[in-house]
């Protein structure tokens, strides 16, 4: 956990719309604000289409935000130019790991070239020897055999490919990693391997994670704080324990009530809480801190009821 609570990423009133002005306009991210503290794992959960990936992709500036600001270490990065030197500088500090370990690695590239791409782009190694040495270090760090650096992605299993993706992200020594459903495509036994690895590396390197997922039990386990997203908005944000013990938003309650638990006794007793999707938001609602560190999307009257 982050002791000194230094903010590394701050998202302020972020909006990311697609097809603006057209009939198929999508408000994928619709006025979202949150802070991520240095050294923490910030979990982002919600059903598919709720805007989790878009939030992550906006933060790493794969898009130009429709509105709002993104601060990284205090610096506003929401307007920096796509191909400018500033962007290049900041891309070294922030990396992304993707869900699909099959689609996200170029099948025609050797593993060592995949991993070294960032090293080359940022000129971080002087020659081939140094480059190979660094690739070996990285493979070793993610528990892959450094001797396999000349192989191609298809020669690896799903879990191993995800390790390659992690090694690639780590190559440039970033401070912050956005992991977009990094374990969703993996088998449970392999999920645990990857989660353990991510946690080990976090401890060693003092990394900060934005961990996007729809598997809630793994998110609870890995995250310090969790934000629940629904239709482009954050409806609740609190520490992982608090979200699970004291969910306040009806959507969070419904989500939690649906998590299957590997225990028949609990499953027999489980009752699902249905959420009414027809009218989820009212105009007078906004995300506000209703208890210390616990944010809820609600109106002022509701917020006052917690005082």
């Amino acid at each position: 956990m982050a002791d000194e609570r230094k903010v590394i990423v701050s998202v302020k009133n972020l909006k990311q719309y697609f097809n603006i002005g057209k009939p198929n306009e999508v408000k994928a991210v619709d006025d979202v604000s949150f802070d991520i503290y240095k050294g923490e794992t910030f979990g982002l959960v919600g059903e598919s289409g709720s805007g989790k990936s878009t939030t992550g992709r906006s933060i790493i500036r794969l898009y130009n935000p429709t509105d709002g600001h993104i601060y990284f270490n205090g610096q506003d990065i929401s307007k920096i130019k796509s191909h400018g030197p500033k962007m290049k500088e900041f891309r070294r500090e922030m990396q992304m790991i993707f869900q699909d370990p099959y689609a996200s690695l170029n099948p025609r590239m050797k593993v060592k070239d995949i991993i070294a791409e960032g090293l080359d782009v940022h000129g971080l190694v002087k020659n081939d020897d140094e480059r190979d040495k660094r690739v070996r270090e990285l493979l070793d760090m993610v528990n892959l055999n450094p001797e396999h650096m000349t192989r191609y992605p298809y020669e690896f299993s799903g879990g191993q490919r995800q390790r390659i993706g992690i090694a690639r992200a780590l190559a440039v020594d970033p401070q912050f990693i956005i992991a977009d459903e990094p374990i969703s495509a993996l088998d449970v036994s392999i999920q645990a391997q990857v989660v353990n690895l991510m946690q080990d590396i976090q401890k060693k390197q003092g990394l900060t994670y934005l961990f996007i997922a729809h598997d809630l039990s793994m998110v609870k386990y890995i995250s310090d704080r969790i934000a629940v997203m629904y239709r482009g908005k954050i409806v609740e944000l609190a520490s992982a324990d608090e979200i699970y013990k004291n969910p306040l938003h009806p959507y969070t309650q419904s989500l939690l009530s649906a998590i299957p638990v590997p225990d028949p006794e609990i499953e027999v007793k489980r009752t699902r809480i249905d959420f009414d999707h027809k009218r989820p938001f009212e105009d007078d609602q906004r995300l506000q801190e209703v208890m210390p560190g616990h944010f809820l999307y609600c109106n002022d009257e509701k917020a006052a009821s917690f005082k």
Binding site: V188, A258, P260, V261, F275
Partner: protein
Amino acid sequence: MEKILEVKDLHVDFDTYNGVVHAIRGVSFHLNAGETLAIVGESGSGKSITVRSILQLLAKNGTISKGEILYHGDDLLQKSTKEMDDIRGNKISMIFQDPMTSLDPTMTIGKQVAEPLLIHNNVSKKDALKRAEEVLRLVGIPNPSARMNDYPHQFSGGQRQRIVIAIAIVDYPEILIADEPTTALDVTVQAQIIDLLKELQQKIGTSIIFITHDLGVVAGIADRVAVMYAGRFVEYGSVNDIFYNPQHPYTWGLLDSMPTLDTNEGSRLHSIPGTPPNLLNPPEGDAFAPRNAYAMEIDEEEQPPFFKVSKNHYAATWLLHPNAPKVTPPEGIMKRFAKYERLGGNVK
């Protein structure tokens, strides 16, 4: 209890460019009338091929090289193509993981749901469509009469899976095989679909084979559970046997690698090291041995037979041999044993 389906010593091979893949290597199980049997295991373990063999829906390069599949005592492997066509979708039907690939994007959903009736039964088109509408209501499609002429893309993912279920049950099959029907869905939708399947089972008395890799889902739906690894079953028993008195180290590993909601932060997840074996050259001994912290010498040499744990609970691990040393399972499993005792079972 009546056994409506019995699979005996099933072997399935695939001819590939690299040689013969022994995908299923001697699988036996049965399905009782009215129950839900879950088959769980990691991807590639052979779950889909096992159930596809029942309906003989294998790819061209696949052959059932050995075994019997008895449906009410009758071997399905001896049936003619025509006889099998009559059983498929009628007496035994199947739901697949991805609803989009099992629906025809160019056909209205009313017609798609009615189709099995028109193929298998002597009913008029009008009656079939009427029945389709009833079944769409049964699976929870709101206002079905207005939506009969809509196409699949006009429905959400969860609704599409409901439509797929409607097609599978429209002829009230005796056996419903569901191959990861909720894996592609959000948890809230998954929970709804599982509740729906349970409700349908009550209403129409179907027996279900439910395939999943998610033990949480298994705990909620199964009466009995079979755990599969590398083309074989390694353990099977009642849902309580498997969750509270598991005996195979692979079952331990699966159960232990999932965080429960009370898994402490800071405690490490138990993970199963390594990856499953290549079934081009299956190992001689226990296929799980290289990943098994409890493996003994004999595991490298000889495949363990099934040992009886209790009535209807069997596990294929040498640890159950009378001469095997006593081992202490992982802490998470010990907690499960404690629960088993509380529930009145006796831990062997």
